[in-house]
């Protein structure tokens, strides 16, 4: 019979290999799925994973990798801090929206003033917007012991409706012929999140994502606070004994995650998206959860995972247009990635034993 045996200590090497293994298994299972849908599986996998980077139209897709990967990485980095400490912020999508609304709000309020300080002010407003939205579940948890998973998740729907109200109400473009949606910030130079290198996809949000990855790495590996985050996740009682104040840690982790998600939203609305619309959010906040776990909650891993997930988005869109794959199939594909990752993860802490006859 087959059974799992706990390893005396977690296999370090395996924990780096399992994400790759999960990607491979996803490719196989995804291929099967596409085959059942009547598509050529090899062709589909190539369209998703290979063509965007090395194919004929790679010059168009490559910058998109950064544009899509940037917000994913930024949000996932924030989430990973909480996840490491056992604090489950599932509402990054809402914090992303509130950051965007706050950032865009500053710009729209100041329009048409041109000044160098407008964009920095928007950055601060975006971070604060996301932070404040995350503080709601954080404070409720610390003060009343509510479940942060439920509260943060439900606040996503509140934020979505708030976004819609803004897009058709207070933030609606007065010169927009009555269409929903705000002014386009791409046409407002002081508020536009430009590409740092033209045509590269590298806008300020992507730069922020890379800076955040470095800071997160330092925090987790070199700073007491990062140690306390890991300790709390590993052994909450030992953390208390060590002197960690659990409430403060919840506020810090939720707040940081909210601020980073807010930043991602603000960079998006002032850059690639350009305006507040009813359908502004496309699920980065949820996909970032997959990115965080796929990246082993490790900053470098998250950067790689974010780029990989961006690839499935871009490749998925390409597969939709060239192979007529349904959009839902791509979402299933991304979900499978997390599913298989969690499944193979078992191997880092357990080993499979196969014995003949009865187990002792």
């Amino acid at each position: 019979m087959i059974y799992l045996e706990k390893r005396p200590q977690p296999a370090r090497a395996l924990s780096y290999v399992t994400p790759l293994l999960a990607v491979l298994i996803t490719m196989v299972a995804g291929g099967l799925l596409f085959a059942i849908l009547g598509k050529d599986p090899v062709e589909a996998i190539r369209t998703i994973f290979w063509d965007p980077v090395f194919g004929e139209f790679a010059f168009y897709y490559r910058p998109q990798l950064l544009v899509k990967g940037g917000p994913l990485i930024l949000i996932a980095l924030g989430l990973s801090l909480g996840f490491k400490a056992g604090i489950w912020n599932i509402g990054a999508e809402g914090q992303y929206i509130m950051g965007a609304v706050a950032g865009a709000g500053v710009a729209l309020a100041l329009y048409p003033l041109e000044a160098w300080w407008i964009f920095p002010l928007m950055v601060i407003a975006g971070a604060l917007g996301g932070w404040a939205w995350a503080m709601i579940p954080a404070l409720l948890k610390v003060k009343f012991g509510t479940n942060e998973i439920l509260v943060s998740l439900m606040l996503v729907y509140v934020a979505e409706n708030f976004l819609k109200a803004m897009a058709i109400g207070a933030m609606k473009n007065p010169e927009g012929f009555g269409f929903p949606g705000s002014r386009n910030l791409q046409q407002y130079p002081s508020a536009h999140n430009t590409e740092i290198i033209a045509g590269s996809g590298m806008h300020w949000g992507v730069a922020a994502a890379f800076i955040a990855a470095i800071m997160a790495y330092i925090l987790l590996n070199r700073h007491l606070l990062g140690f306390q985050i890991r300790l709390t996740g590993e052994a909450p009682r030992a953390a208390r004994f060590s002197g960690v104040k659990p409430g403060r840690l919840v506020l810090f982790c939720m707040g940081t995650a909210g601020a980073l998600a807010g930043l991602a939203g603000m960079f998006e609305v002032s850059g690639p998206a350009g305006q507040i619309t009813t359908g502004f959010n496309v699920g980065y906040g949820f996909t970032a959860i997959i990115v965080a776990f796929l990246g082993r909650l490790h900053p470098i891993g998250i950067v790689l995972a974010g780029l990989l997930m961006a690839l499935t988005y871009i490749g998925g869109e390409a597969a939709q247009s060239t192979m007529q794959l349904p959009a839902a199939a791509i979402q299933v594909f991304q979900g499978m990635l997390l599913f298989f990752l969690l499944a193979v993860d078992v191997l880092t802490n357990y080993r499979i034993r196969i014995t003949l006859g009865e187990a002792a």
Binding site: R237, F241, S242
Partner: protein
């Protein structure tokens, strides 16, 4: 003693990396009380688990009442007349005694009838127990009675008892022994596991001694001294900790009317605890498990806070301060539970050294960690306390219980505490290592620290303490000088026989 009840021949059981039992043979006669003696890790538990059908031996055979005996599961062992009382009870706090007993039975009778049965057996064997009481409200000794009565209802031929007295007061031990003698007189055999030598001398007919999985000898406990048995068990002469007489100095730790509620539902709240510990003094606190030891440690470590004046260190009120602040001021603590409380199981020894040592050992500067220094600190602990580990980067959970215990106690001792409070400092540690730890505690006191040792091991407390008190249901007994205390007095300080009148026995 008419014949052999159980014969064990060449039992062997190996786990990856360790042979738990190597070719062990012995036999138990009918109506015999047989002791299984050995240090922690000697293989006693594995052996009895094989007899009880929990573990399947790799080799060897057992004969029970003249027939081959190979229990595949405890159910089968019980069917043949083997019952076992575990060291850790498997009882549900929220159910009453009769319900708990019924849960362990294949075809339980109606609760009313069962309660009657329980009452009858408990009276017959002198183990008073009210079948309708909630288990959550019982003392450890009473819980053990529930387990014993559960076994007796099966009318066993062989009763296995794993370290039964570790949770009892001396008076309760006497009651238990009276019951066991009664059982023996009726022809029931008892396999009695312990490392307490005087108990074995008082109770057992024969003893089998295990060391590192092997049988190293047998003896008739009444005919040898405790010291002789100890040497057979340990394999060498024991070094007893020494201490120099010191005159107690200033009061370092003072508790004044400390009362705090327990954070857990079935925990014990502390009630008006007042004590003083002076420089150079070791205060020993005895008590049966679950009488407030964990809560007292938490109230001292800062995990539970209280009114400021309830706890003071060197005259400064610190009752409202958290663990980090108390540690900064020199009050260090060592909790009982190693994995998950004193140490984080999946983290390395270096990281676990940081867990309490970061500030006092200068392992960080303005929040940034110095991993090199942390590693050095971990190595120093490993070396000084002889922790057996491949290195500083090993996960805490990979260490054996005793080795991890040496590490977590060592970690606190090495930080030169002003006041050290430890709960069960040598629990699960072999005799040589326990001696090292006790010596380190005494050396600390000799250097001017004040030490509080909370323990359930009375021998240990008598060895290290200057003054002695006991916790009983969250209250502290009178504090008395340890020298000259009799077992009788100690037992009364611990609350006597919980839940019954001693005079009736």
């Amino acid at each position: 003693m008419t014949g052999t009840l159980l014969e064990i021949v060449g039992l062997t059981k190996a786990y990856p990396g360790v042979v738990a039992n190597d070719d062990v043979s012995f036999s138990i006669g009918e109506g015999e009380v047989h002791a299984l003696l050995g240090e922690n890790g000697a293989g006693k538990s594995t052996l009895v688990k094989m007899i009880y059908g929990l573990v399947k031996p790799d080799r060897g055979e057992m004969v029970f009442q003249g027939k081959v005996y190979e229990p595949a599961e405890p159910q089968e062992a019980r069917g043949r007349g083997v019952a076992m009382v575990f060291q850790h009870f498997s009882l549900f706090d929220a159910l009453n005694v009769a319900e708990n007993v019924a849960l362990g039975m294949a075809n339980p009778p109606k609760t009313g009838a069962l309660a009657e049965q329980i009452r009858r057996v408990s009276e017959q064997y002198g183990l008073p127990l009210d079948p309708w009481r909630l288990v959550g409200d019982l003392s450890a000794g009473e819980r053990q009675r529930v387990e014993i009565i559960r076994c007796l209802l099966q009318d066993p031929k062989l009763l296995i008892m794993d370290e039964p007295t570790s949770v009892l007061t001396p008076q309760e031990v006497e009651i238990l022994f009276a019951t066991l003698r009664k059982l023996k007189a009726e022809g029931t055999s008892i396999l009695y596991i312990s490392h307490k030598l005087e108990e074995i001398r008082a109770l057992c007919d024969e003893a089998t001694i295990l060391r590192l999985g092997k049988k190293v000898g047998t003896c008739t406990p009444r005919d040898v001294t405790a010291a002789q048995m100890a040497e057979m068990m340990v394999g060498s002469e024991l070094h007893r900790p020494e201490r120099e007489a010191t005159t107690p100095g200033e009061v370092r730790l003072a508790l004044k009317d400390l009362s705090v509620a327990s954070p857990s539902q079935f925990g014990t709240s502390l009630k008006n605890i007042t004590l003083e510990v002076r420089a150079g003094e070791v205060l020993g606190l005895a008590g049966v498990a679950g009488n407030g030891q964990d809560e007292l440690l938490a109230a001292l470590s800062g995990e539970i806070t209280s009114a400021p004046g309830m706890v003071s260190l060197d005259g400064v009120a610190i009752g409202n301060k958290g663990p980090a602040e108390r540690r900064r001021r020199g009050l260090l603590t060592g909790p009982e539970e190693r994995l998950g409380h004193a140490a984080a199981p999946n983290m390395t020894l270096t990281e676990n050294a940081l867990l309490t040592g970061a500030e006092r050992e200068g392992l960080m500067s303005s929040g940034f960690l110095k991993w090199g220094k942390a590693r050095d600190f971990a190595s120093v602990i490993i070396e000084r306390f002889d922790v057996r580990t491949p290195g500083t980067e090993t996960a805490a959970r990979a260490l054996s219980g005793g080795n991890l215990q040496k590490f977590v106690i060592g970690r606190e001792v090495m930080q030169r505490p002003e006041v050290l409070v430890v709960n069960q400092p040598t629990w699960g540690v072999d005799a040589a290592a326990a001696a090292t730890i006790r010596q380190a505690i005494l050396d600390l006191a000799a250097g001017g620290a004040a030490v509080v040792v909370i323990s359930q091991d009375l021998d240990e407390l008598m060895e290290v303490s200057d003054n002695f008190a006991a916790l009983n249901e969250g209250r502290l007994s009178e504090i008395k000088p340890a020298k000259g205390l009799s077992m009788e007095e100690i037992g009364l300080m611990m609350g006597g026989a919980h839940g019954m009148e001693v005079a009736h026995v």
